[in-house]
C-alpha cells in the first residue's frame, strides 16, 4: 500500500470514529472503512482491493475492540470480489458503479454478520440487520462517486488498472 492509500485509510478511520459514529443515519452507523475497501477494489482491481480491504478492516477491528480479523476478512473478500467483477465487466457507467458500490457494501455487511455469528457475536440475530445492510448500501452507493474520486487520487494514474478505468471515467 503506497503513502496515498495509507493516508486515505487512516483518514477514513478518523472519519469513522469521529463523525460516522456520532452521526448515525436512521440509527445506523455508516461503515466508511468498508466503503473505502469496496471503492479500492473498483478503482485498483482485486489485488488492490484485497490489500486496502485487509488494512482498513484490521484498523477498524482494532479501533472497535472487536474480534480481531473479522472485518479484515470480510472487507478483503468483498473488495477482492468487487474488483474481480469489474475486471470481468471491463467498463460500466457511473450510475451502475454506484449500484455496484452499494451492492458491495451490502455484501460486506452481510459477510461480516455471518462471520460474527460464527464467532458468537450475535450479529445475524441483530433485529436491525436489514436496516444496517440497507442503509449502508444506500449511503455507500450515494457517496461512492466522491469516494471513487479520492481512491483514484490514491491509486495514481500510473498504477490504475486499464480494465477499471472505465468505471471511473465512463
Amino acid at each position: 500500500m503506497n503513502l496515498r492509500w495509507t493516508i486515505l485509510v487512516v483518514t477514513a478511520l478518523v472519519l469513522q470514529v469521529a463523525i460516522a459514529a456520532s452521526f448515525p443515519i436512521g440509527g445506523v452507523v455508516i461503515d466508511f472503512m468498508l466503503l473505502i475497501a469496496v471503492c479500492a477494489g473498483m478503482v485498483g482491481g482485486p489485488q488492490r482491493g484485497a490489500v486496502v480491504g485487509f488494512w482498513s478492516g484490521l484498523l477498524y477491528d482494532l479501533a472497535r475492540d472487536g474480534r480481531l480479523g473479522l472485518s479484515a476478512l470480510a472487507f478483503t473478500l468483498v473488495a477482492f470480489g468487487v474488483g474481480s467483477l469489474l475486471v470481468a465487466v471491463l467498463s460500466v457507467r457511473r450510475g451502475l458503479s454506484m449500484v455496484i458500490a452499494g451492492l458491495g457494501m451490502a455484501a460486506g455487511e452481510l459477510l461480516y454478520a455471518v462471520e460474527g455469528e460464527l464467532f458468537g457475536e450475535h450479529t445475524l440475530s441483530n433485529p436491525r440487520l436489514w436496516a444496517i445492510v440497507g442503509i449502508n448500501a444506500l449511503i455507500g452507493g450515494l457517496l461512492s462517486p466522491l469516494v471513487l474520486r479520492v481512491c483514484r487520487w490514491a491509486e495514481g494514474p500510473g498504477e490504475r488498472s486499464s480494465a477499471i478505468v472505465g468505471v471511473i471515467d465512463g
Binding site: 459514529a21 448515525p24 452507523v29 472497535r64 475492540d65 461480516y112 441483530n126 444496517i132
Partner: protein
Amino acid sequence: MSDYEDLEKENAELRRRVDELEGQQLTNSDAEEQVRKLREQLNLAFPVPGETVVAQVATGNFSSFDEFQAKIDKGSDSGIEVGMPVITSAGLIGNIERVSADRSVVHLITDPGFNVGVRIKSNALGVGRGSGPDSPFIVDHGIALTAEVAEGDPVTTSGFERAKFPKELLIGTVSKITRSQSEQIQILEVDMAADLSRLDYVQVLKWTPTS
C-alpha cells in the same frame, strides 16, 4: 509611556491568570463530576452477592453491529472473568463476553438474544430478553395467566441453579402487561432500571455461574 507599558504588562498577566483559573475551574468541575458518578456507583439500589470492580466505559461504538456491546477499561488483571454480571447502581446491564488483560467487552441485556431467568414480585418466574436499544425488556416465557402481576412490580434475576446471574439483581419494573390467550401466558414489558443509553461507570460483580 512607562506607566502605559506597565499597565499593558499587568493587563496581559491578569488575562493569563484568568485563563489559568478558568482552566483550573473546568478541571475541578470535571473531577467533581467524576467523583459524583463514582459515589453514585457505591449506592446500589439492590443487594449484590460479593465483591465488585468499578470500571469505566472505555470507548463508544463505532459500528452498528456493536450496539449490544460496551467496552470497559478493566480486564483479567482486575480479576474480571467471562460470564460475570455487570451492573450500574440502578440495575443489571449485561455480562462479560470477552476479557483481555486490561479491557473487557460487556454483552448488553438489550440484545434480543440475551435471555435471563427472572422473578416478579409475586414470585412468578419467567424468562426475559432484550428487544433492542431504547426498547423495553420483554418477559415472554413462563408467566402463566393465573400469576399475580401488576404494573410497577419489580423484576429481578431469578438466580436459579446454573443461572447466569445470581438472584435479586434488579432489571426494572413492569410497565405493561399483555395477556396472550393463545399461548396462555402474560407478556410483560419491563422498563429497565439502568439507563443503557448513558453508560459511564459500571460495576462488574465478581460472581461466575459456577461460583
